[in-house]
């Protein structure tokens, strides 16, 4: 019975090819420093899962955002744990992605043939920061409100375009319900979609070129 199902799937999916192409690949000797990328990806998946749970109760409006989060923390079973993981996961993800980038920089792993992997990686770093920036506002508490006020103000100092950028970010001259709405949209749709897409390419490139080895005097 199981054999029949396995064979049926194997004919269509090709487990053998998946195994040889994805898993049974040769790699140079790796260390714990090589785990930072996959750890970042793991955190992204965790953030996605916990984030989906949070949207079940969260309401992106100034009137209800704060209360809905309070309800998640007090009223929902294990809501505190889900939000706690999401909160700390964000912090850890920024740290991990940054350290991952430093590792690649110091071992010069971005050089031929991995230039494109690096380029995409910078995109991943920036989108991660974007996730942090947009997510920070969502609890609509004092810290969030004022952090976003300064954050958008800094973006508003760009010469010539500043005013436009500021208004585009805030959805008007001041922080308002519109700001919260668009930060929410960016946080759960736009940026994660971008991030996931970039991550797919990043992964493909890593599988294609393999992990780089640690440089020795020869290199």
């Amino acid at each position: 019975m199981w054999n029949t199902i396995y064979n049926w799937l194997d004919e269509r999916l090709g487990f053998n090819e998946l195994y040889t192409n994805l898993l049974d690949r040769p790699e140079p000797k790796t260390t714990w420093w090589n785990t930072l990328g996959s750890a970042s990806m793991f955190l992204f998946i965790m953030q996605g899962l916990t984030g989906i749970f949070l949207t079940v109760y969260y309401t992106p409006s100034p009137d209800h955002a704060y209360d809905s989060i309070q309800y998640i923390m007090e009223g929902v079973a294990f809501g505190w744990l889900i939000r706690g993981i999401h909160h700390w996961g964000a912090t850890l993800m920024v740290i991990l992605v940054f350290v991952h980038m430093l590792r690649v920089f110091f071992t010069a792993s971005f050089k031929f043939p991995r230039e494109l992997t690096w380029l995409i990686g910078i995109g991943l770093f920036l989108t991660t920061l974007g996730m942090g920036f947009t997510g920070y506002l969502l609890p609509w508490n004092q810290k969030a409100y004022w952090a976003t006020t300064v954050g958008t103000q800094i973006a508003g100092t760009v010469p010539f375009l500043g005013e436009f950028i500021l208004k585009a970010l805030r959805g008007g001259p001041e922080l308002s319900a519109l700001t919260l709405q668009r930060f929410f949209s960016a946080h759960i749709w736009i940026i994660p979609a971008l991030l996931a897409g970039l991550m797919g390419v990043h992964l493909y490139l890593i599988i294609k070129h393999g992990e780089s080895h640690f440089p020795t005097k020869e290199d």
Partner: protein
Amino acid sequence: MNDETKQKINKRYERELDKGERFWPDTIFRDLIMSLGIFLLLILLASFVGIPVEPKADPSDTSYIPRPEWYFLFLFKFLALYGQLPLIGKIEWLATVLVPGVAIGILTLLPFIEKSPNRYYSKRILPISIMTIMVTGIVMLTLMSEVPTVAEDGSTLLGTLQTIVGIFIPVIAYVLFAFFKSNTRLMIWTTSLAALSMIIISGTVLALAPEKKAEETEVATTLVDQIFAGQDLYSIHCTECHGDDGSIAVIQGVEGLEGEKITPINSRDVLYTITDSAMAEVIAYGRPSSGMTPFGKTYGGELSKSEIDYIVVFMRYMWDDRFEVPQEALKPLFPPLAAGEVPSYDVHIQPIVKRYCISCHRAGKENNNYLMTTYEEILTTGDQAANNVIAGDEGSYLLQVIQEHAIMNPEKPGEELIGVMPPNRALKPNVVDVFFRWVMNGMPRTAVEAGALSTTPAATPTP
């Protein structure tokens, strides 16, 4: 890069692969352990550190010191330090746009800027040095982000030291790199010295930094806490006019509003017709036509958005018969006294004073300078401080007025020196009894002191 180098690189990689490992199961095993470790760390952080509770966003609260997310703090600090530089400090966009923009640009285009195929550390001393200084600067600025650039006494020493770490040392190091870049040994020395001095100076700054005052923001998270918080705020800000149960229809004893007719705010007329948000708005804006001043910070009052919300919650759950009060919210103001038991300030007097007295007896109100917000104030302030509270004396003015005996002015017969307190309605006998026992037994402050004075064995019954 020519084909020959490319081939050499690929050959070299082949050799590394030959003495390497398999992705499955070697590499992925370590990855999985790492992810599992992070998962456990997250659960520990979520369970034992948690998320700091913050009050609701309040756009009107201009006293709040805005700070960005922690990973942007270094940039924020850099901007603050940069802003103090003479001349270029005024051109804001140099620091907000140009410097970060160039940094990110270089980082992005790195593979096309650092084109040499060399990968070994000693062959890449320039980029490694630049990055080391950059990362040291970022970490140090993040650590110092809480330290003010100008101290309270006006000294700019800390600000200067921070500028040295955040701007001068990196700039000097980068200029030196331009001269030393072909000499590996000099580069290592410059980088180490620069990084070390940045760390040492930052350490000095952190050691000298004024101790951070722990900001205490009390946030009521559960419904019961919110009702209590609302009740306390209501007692302080609203009872003067509306009475402690909201039933007052004609204001008495309030200067300037004497005899003003108002709707009892505990009536169905009010509670059934006004929504929560409208009620919060009335509290924030006030009712100028009937003498109610604005209470919201935005309009010159004292209350934040969260605080107004708590008052609304309190009114709903206590007075609106469509809402059911949680049992816990109905616990008595103070634990009842047994015969012979002596009450203490901490357990009994403080909550009573907060509910019935502080509304008027706090700074900025007309109260003959008698303030009651702390233990010391109750004993020592006021125009009649010497007579207000006398240990063991039934004639203490405090005890007299709460028993509905006004104190007459000895110099002007027929004129009240102090009227009965509270002006609107008498305190309940059990509350008066608490004050009486407290003063007669010498005003003990803590439950322990009170317990020592009590004549009953069970001195402080648990509520």
